[in-house]
Subunit: 201 residues, 2 copies
């Protein structure tokens, strides 16, 4: 997603948001500073202070920006192979073993933790979950309509996968070993095979 | 669990830990102060400062105390009806609709978020997940051995349920609506019925 976003920032505001996203990926949330964001930004750092009151303000707008871009992209997406599509989404959260100690699960969890006490973050994540649930449900509906998925409740299945992904992000960010990831991935696959995928596919 | 713990504090240290647990339940983590803990504690507040360096130190030891007590209790537990037992565990996290705006999911998630940057919390939650996974796996093994559960991989199923519970806690603590809870609960029930429970039970 980031790589697509990095092309075609149409103004200074978008350049700042993209610089913030890059910094989040590299440093996480707790260690993020306006100075570090400035390092990713080609223009003067003072422009960041001119546009934003502080880190939280800036990070929240970055999350909203990514979500809006993602929502637009979803509409353009052609669901060619629903099963492959769903597997690719899951791979982003379970990792494919190649990426090593990715910062991303921790950062996503850290940002989400802001929602406990900050209503603006809470609104963001309520909306973000809604967009993501809709995205997953669309894939499932497409699978059912094209006959490769069983008749199931797309909303229930989508919400369940989304909740599972959240659980995966939390545990990856807060416990030491990751051996459990394979167990959960296998079990989720079994669930999808019995509940969603048609076995004759 | 708390109610059992509140009986039989055997010394001042345990009385302080139980007071901390009560305060966590009432106020959550962010708003917790030593003064509020003192309000739950029958002896002098200065004793708390005498025993603990600060809030984080005290909360962590409280978590460890609850976990140790819980581990002991598990060993004594008789798994009479594995299915009913598992359903009761799940009900604690999905709520039964009666408890309204419980503070507990938020507090558990808040405490877990400390593990991102604090190694002692990280060690605690690694151990805590391990204990809880073992507890769930024991119920599943019991169900398989007594013939009421299907042949499945108890470790994989236990880790999956644990991850799902974590996802439920995160979402309950960070988004506004809770309508999704019923969807996830229904879908988890379907999963358990196809994967774990014998249908002839």
């Amino acid at each position: 997603v980031t790589d697509d976003l990095c092309e075609g920032a149409s103004n200074t505001r978008e350049e700042i948001l993209i610089a913030t996203l890059q910094s989040l990926r590299e440093h996480g949330y707790a260690d993020l500073t306006i100075k570090k964001i400035g390092d990713e930004f080609e223009k003067s750092q003072s422009l960041i202070y001119h546009h934003y009151d502080g880190k939280d303000d800036l990070v929240l707008e970055t999350l909203e920006f990514v979500l809006d871009r993602h929502s637009e992209q979803v509409i353009e997406d052609q669901v060619v192979n629903p099963r492959q599509h769903l597997e690719e989404v899951l791979k982003q959260f379970f990792g494919d073993g190649d990426e090593g100690g990715s910062q991303l699960p921790t950062t996503l969890f850290e940002l989400r933790a802001q929602a406990i006490h900050d209503d603006s973050y809470r609104e963001h994540f309520t909306r973000s979950d809604e967009v993501f649930r809709g995205y997953l449900a669309d894939i499932i509906v497409e699978g059912i309509e094209s006959g490769v998925f069983r008749e199931c409740d797309p909303q229930n299945v989508a919400t369940t996968i989304l909740t599972m992904i959240n659980g995966v992000l939390v545990r990856r960010a807060t416990i030491d070993d990751e051996e459990w990831l394979t167990s959960v991935r296998d079990e989720l696959e079994t669930y999808l095979e019995t509940r969603v995928y048609r076995s004759d596919e």
